[in-house]
């Protein structure tokens, strides 16, 4: 495989800042929960500040992440009945939404990059598929290098996208 240089992401700093505040800044929902919500299936381990998504939030998080238009008033009422305040639901929703946004953005950029750099051979399609998955780790580390912000948060791979 040829050396590949991932071009710098001009939005990394501001995206990182937003994610840092949403997942690690002061809030009404504890940061470990917000981080788990943002990281989907690949939350950080406990010793890195990660945690599990609390049971009452699991289904809601999945809905917001995959098909937010299905959220109903009943979903919100159920969360309130489980003891969550509006501010906590506000934080949970944003934590999930921007985790999902980040995941799709990274996967999309990796796929574009793999396509643009794939060798023009008859096997190009297969090569670019393999490249998309393999490149993600590179995109991840390039991301972290490009930003001083420690919030470079739980990244996810394109394989997790349905």
């Amino acid at each position: 495989m040829p050396d590949r240089v991932i071009p710098p992401d001009p939005y990394n700093g501001k995206m990182g800042n937003l994610l840092h505040i949403l997942w690690r800044g002061p809030g009404k929902l504890d940061a470990a929960t917000r981080m788990a919500l943002g990281g989907g299936q690949r939350a950080l381990p406990p010793h890195e500040g990660g945690g599990d998504i609390p049971a009452p939030l699991v289904a809601y998080a999945e809905k917001v992440r995959r098909y937010a238009y299905r959220v109903t008033d009943e979903d919100i009422a159920a969360l309130k009945a489980a003891g969550y305040t509006e501010d906590q639901i506000f934080e949970a929703t944003l934590s999930v939404a921007f985790g999902a946004a980040r995941q799709r953005y990274v996967a999309g950029m990796a796929a574009l990059y793999a396509r643009d750099t794939a060798a023009p051979t008859p096997a190009a399609h297969d090569a670019s598929d393999a490249g998309a998955a393999g490149d993600d780790a590179n995109a991840d580390s390039a991301d972290r290098k490009a930003s001083d912000d420690p919030s470079a948060a739980p990244e996810t791979t394109s394989k997790e996208l349905d």
Partner: protein
């Protein structure tokens, strides 16, 4: 909007700004405005910083093209733009 806090639970400065928008435009401010004005230190400020850069900052795409991408993406997500 499903959270009453985000609809009408703003702190005083944001409440006054929203009131001014109502008076000057003669209409209810859009939900996105209420959203970015609710606890702006937690979401609205860093979000607006990012969005300004993405949608209005230097780019090979025109502002109109970028708005079109956003509208198309919202459509794919079944979200109103």
């Amino acid at each position: 909007m499903r959270l009453s806090n985000v609809t009408r639970g703003h702190r005083l400065p944001q409440k006054l700004t929203l009131r001014m928008i109502r008076v000057m435009s003669g209409a209810e401010p859009p939900d996105i405005v209420k959203l970015v004005m609710y606890r702006p230190e937690f979401f609205g400020r860093p979000y607006s910083d990012l969005v300004d850069e993405v949608m209005r900052g230097p780019s090979e795409w025109s502002v109109g093209e970028r708005e079109l991408f956003a509208a198309f993406t919202s459509r794919l997500n079944s979200c109103r733009f």
